[in-house]
């Protein structure tokens, strides 16, 4: 159970960090914030990679492959579209 408490500690502290950091994001950047944080939530990709690559059973391999596809769309698309938007904001300095 101590493992669980340690992981829970990380979870709770990360939420606090999230609140502190994100309340400082100004409204004009809220759309890029959403798409950028969305890309970060694609971190599930690392679980997907292990499922797709360890090939325990045919079913888990297929689930892993699907998860890799979904998460990659999220990661690649999310960071790229955020970059595209932020460049538009930067252009007029």
């Amino acid at each position: 159970m101590t493992d669980f408490v340690m992981i829970l500690t990380i979870f709770v502290l990360a939420i606090f960090v999230g609140f502190e950091v994100i309340t400082k994001v100004p409204p004009i950047l809220h759309t890029p914030l959403m798409s950028g944080s969305n890309a970060i939530s694609g971190i599930t990709i690392i679980g997907a990679i292990i499922s797709a690559g360890s090939q325990h059973t045919a079913l888990t391999t297929i689930l892993g492959l699907m998860a890799v596809i979904f998460a990659t769309i999220n990661v690649v698309g999310g960071f790229m579209v955020t970059h595209r938007m932020l460049e538009m904001f930067k252009r007029k300095e």
Binding site: T31, P32, M34, I49, L65, M80, H83
Partner: protein
């Protein structure tokens, strides 16, 4: 690569995610911030490829290529006006990936336990693992299907109107309880993996029914909430896999989504429960509308507006979703440039819930090359409204309705609005007098200092520009 090195790399990735989000605090540092986030992700992915359990890379790279191509094409091709539905779609994929990973982890553990692996057997009986799997499955399914419905609504594939029926709240509660019961049944009989899929199926229906009753103008809240869910689903998957970087990244995103949801709700003076479950957008009584508008509406022409603008010193433009629909942002930029070249100060007043997602209007105006220091928040512009010569309302309605201040019984009572009625002259560019999403008439249109310019937003702006150039 040893476990310790992989975990250290995950720590670096986590730090980069935090620094990346921190960079978004200012447009100057935002690009670098986003790149840091992407670097963190790259590090996490690369070290994961060295995980000891991986025996084959073909499928992994197949997934990278397919997903990467789809993601990249969407990111490059998407129009800025369609950003809300794209973000909605990405949210959904994140949730979908989480539920698939959690399901696969359960099956892997089950097969290992059945083969006699003591560690796997212990894991199946571990509450953290089992509860997290269920949470990941339910939140992931709600996020995936809820996001697809939100995408459909924003894309016009599903009706934008709230779909309501009697007993809908009861149905949703039953679905939620049902999915949890199925999850508990899975915990009690871990070998019946079908319970997981039944649970996911029930949660999927719940996700669809949660978003169907949400109307178009409430979409910013729903998109922000689903954003939060996609993060929470990733965090839950982190608990399934006992993986810190998933938990950290997931909770950062979860927190971000919750903050945005809260800001959106405050900007409408409504609670989250009211947005999700309350009725809104009922039809107004026609008689009331007649009383307010009868004989008091003054229609104007682009030429008259042009004359007004030429003599103005300070102009404020209030954009709404109508500007996005009319794709008028580039025409607005031309008007902005023309007026600024004539020495008129032009600013934009942006209501937090204008458009279909948080920050929607800012992105459109940035796309049209409007400098970001010209984009003013509601609280910043309102105290100066009395010094504004001309306020142009372009495709916005409820967010400039003074009833929010005056009538405590109105559905938008107490909602903070942009006080355009305090400007010397208000020009409302709109196709007709039809009500906005709240379904109520807008007395602003009938004020003495308001002029109505009826027509398509983009066309009217262009005609104003022509009139100024000719005049």
């Amino acid at each position: 690569m040893s476990e310790a090195i992989i975990n250290l790399a995950y720590l670096v990735a986590s730090a980069l995610f935090v620094l990346g989000l921190k960079g978004l605090a200012h447009p100057r540092t935002a690009v670098r911030g986003n790149l840091m986030g992407a670097l963190g992700m790259l590090i996490a992915i690369v070290v994961t490829l060295f995980h000891k359990d991986i025996i084959d890379y073909k499928l992994i790279f197949t997934g990278f290529v397919i997903g990467g191509a789809i993601g990249a094409i969407l990111a490059v091709k998407i129009q800025m006006t369609a950003m809300p539905q794209l973000v909605g779609l990405y949210n959904g994929f994140g949730g979908g990936a989480s539920l698939l990973v959690a399901g696969a982890a359960w099956i892997e553990t089950l097969t290992m336990a059945q083969a006699g692996d003591a560690q796997a057997m212990a894991l199946l009986g571990n509450e953290q693992f089992s509860v997290a799997t269920i949470a990941s499955g339910i939140i992931g399914a709600v996020t995936f299907w809820g996001s697809l419905v939100a995408f459909g609504k924003l894309q016009g594939l599903v009706t934008e109107k709230p779909v309501r029926y009697t007993g809908e709240q009861v149905v949703k509660v039953i679905l939620l309880v049902g999915s949890i019961v199925l999850g508990v049944m899975l915990i009690q009989t871990p070998e019946h993996i079908t319970y997981y899929w039944y649970m996911v199926a029930v949660a999927s229906v719940l996700g669809i029914l949660l978003v169907m009753p949400i109307g178009g103008a409430d979409m910013p809240v729903v998109i922000a909430l689903l954003n939060s869910y996609s993060g929470l689903a990733a965090a839950a998957t982190g608990f399934v896999l006992s993986n810190n970087v998933l938990i950290i990244a997931g909770s950062l995103v979860g927190a971000s989504g919750i903050i945005l949801t809260n800001i959106m709700c405050k900007a409408m003076n409504r609670s989250l429960l009211n947005v999700l479950f309350g009725g809104f957008g009922e039809v107004a009584e026609a008689a009331e509308e007649g009383d307010i508008y009868a004989g008091k509406i003054k229609a104007t022409s682009p030429e008259e507006v042009a004359m007004l603008l030429e003599t103005a010193r300070r102009v404020v433009i209030v954009p709404g979703y109508g500007m996005a629909v009319a794709q008028a942002q580039h025409a607005v930029r031309d008007l902005f440039n023309l007026l600024e070249s004539k020495g008129v100060t032009v600013e934009f007043a942006i209501h937090p819930v204008a458009g279909r997602m948080p920050g929607h209007m800012n992105v459109l105006l940035a796309e049209a090359d409007i400098p970001y220091d010209k984009l003013k928040e509601m609280d910043e512009i309102n105290p100066q409204m009395e010094q504004v010569d001309v306020a142009i309302v372009l495709g916005a309605n409820d967010v400039v309705n003074p009833v929010a201040r005056t009538d405590p019984n109105s559905p938008i009572a107490g909602m903070p609005i942009i006080d355009v009625d305090k400007a010397r002259t208000v020009v409302v560019i709109k196709r007709s007098l039809s009500p906005g999403f709240a379904g109520i008439p807008n007395p602003l249109f009938a004020l003495d200092n308001t002029l109505m310019l009826f027509g398509d937003g983009k066309k009217m702006i262009q005609e104003i520009i022509n009139a100024i150039k000719e005049g």
